[in-house]
Symmetry: C2
Subunit: 240 residues, 2 copies
DNA sequence: CGCTACATTGAGTTACCTCAAAAATTGTGG
DNA sequence: CCACAATTTTTGAGGTAACTCAATGTAGCG
């Protein structure tokens, strides 16, 4: 489903890349943008192919996946509303970008977008900032995967997910509820693929967190954090 | 030790960021640059502090380290000659940058460098490319750490190290020898810190590779790859 | 040549994995 | 609205890869 875009009432205008263009110039991106809705599970971009478009996530969550020949998968990144998807002036390497939930994207046709990037250094400057931030996040995960035991991995995942959601709560229309109750977009399988462990271990560790009243689950996807400080302490390996 | 710089005969001119400035403009960076030699183990940049300068690695190898409160460390990235170190318009977060070997850096004072970046969009554009590449490498490591067993991790490390060295062999003065013999810059401890495993396991896996005649070690740091295809196969988990 | 730092090897333990079964949640058709 | 099927998650028992601790071996340096 494709529809036209109106930046004025855009839910994520403030946090997205596009906000780097001010006043008169703001129109430039608007002219080449269009909205696209994709359902859960749809592949958004496939690495190695030159993509036709790049996009800003308006709503929903997206995962970056590496697939091994034997079928095992590793999620190497998650992206949330306001994040930029795709690599201008290149492709995504061996990555696949996939919708974790239903997503709404604000898409920009590739070539005109690249031209605008070159024409407006402020825009490219802003993109540089974002990519540096993503790099920092990626390195944070390297640390988590390399150093932490299963319990701390799960706690770290939940902690960072919750913090990331709060960052997005300024966003109108955000699906994330308040008062420490959240809608976990990832299945246990996906959490396992992200943390480099098995679904059983993820389940056991979540079970432990529940038994200790650190968190509470509501149905399969509902999550309430009862003791955020404790969660953080577990993420730092400060208790067992 | 600090000395002045002469871009003309720079060993890494072609592969480094500075090559983005052509002709007349090339001088701009030269004017604010100076060489610096640092010995093995020296801390180059400390995260969270606003750095006084940014740099291009001229020779040597550098590691990016996350330190956990309990003293355990994780190496989250390695950088080689031609790579850019530091984050302009920001700081490195919780990272520490440290010399793995003796290193020679071409440093740029922070503020003037940032001004030049803003003044020459081509330069910033080139930096954007590099950071995207680093992000891709970081995600590759997330995959390696999350998905692969110890043997494949070690094989992957050796493979990528060797490939990365070959990428630098165009560089004059490069310390890396030809005919598949290399000088491993990292100690076993550092390899373990990079791969998220113990020094004993690293040692055992390297022992296995030796026993299978995939590699050969010469002294503590010398490495010769006897069967690169086999190494790659092991990195892909295609045999045990 | 001896000292120190680093690397290897060995034995026993453990955290996480694998395989298998039970339970819970969600979706669907009567 | 309820019962049933499909899917996902949880729980259990047993195995194994990688860890820990300890001892031995080897490079490199003064």
């Amino acid at each position: 489903m494709i529809s036209h875009n109106s930046c004025r009432k855009c839910e994520i205008r403030e946090q997205a890349l596009c906000s780097a263009l001010k006043g008169h110039d703001a129109n430039k991106l608007h002219q080449i943008s269009y909205r696209q809705q994709l359902t859960k599970g749809k592949v958004i971009l496939q690495g190695h192919k030159e993509p036709k478009w790049l996009a800003v996530i308006v709503s929903g969550v997206v995962k970056l996946v590496c697939t091994k020949c034997d079928g095992r998968q590793q999620i190497v990144g998650l992206q949330f509303p306001g994040d930029f998807v795709g690599r201008p002036f290149g492709n995504l390497g061996s990555l696949r970008v996939e919708a974790v939930t239903d997503v709404s994207l604000c898409c920009f046709s590739r070539q005109p977008f690249e031209e605008i990037l070159r024409a407006y250094p402020d825009l490219e400057h802003s993109l540089l900032h974002r990519i540096y931030d993503e790099l920092e996040v990626a390195r944070q995960w390297i640390f988590t995967l390399g150093c932490l035991p299963a319990r701390a991995k799960v706690a770290t995942f939940l902690q960072l997910f919750v913090e990331r959601v709060h960052k997005s709560t300024g966003i109108k229309n955000a699906k994330f509820s308040v008062d420490r109750q959240y809608d976990l977009p990832l299945s246990r399988t996906e959490i396992a693929e992200f943390l480099g462990m098995t679904i059983e271990t993820v389940s056991r560790e979540i079970g432990y967190l529940k038994s200790e009243s650190v968190i509470e689950t509501i149905g399969l996807r509902g999550l309430r954090v009862q003791d955020f400080d404790r969660l953080k302490a577990l993420a730092e390996c400060e208790e067992t």
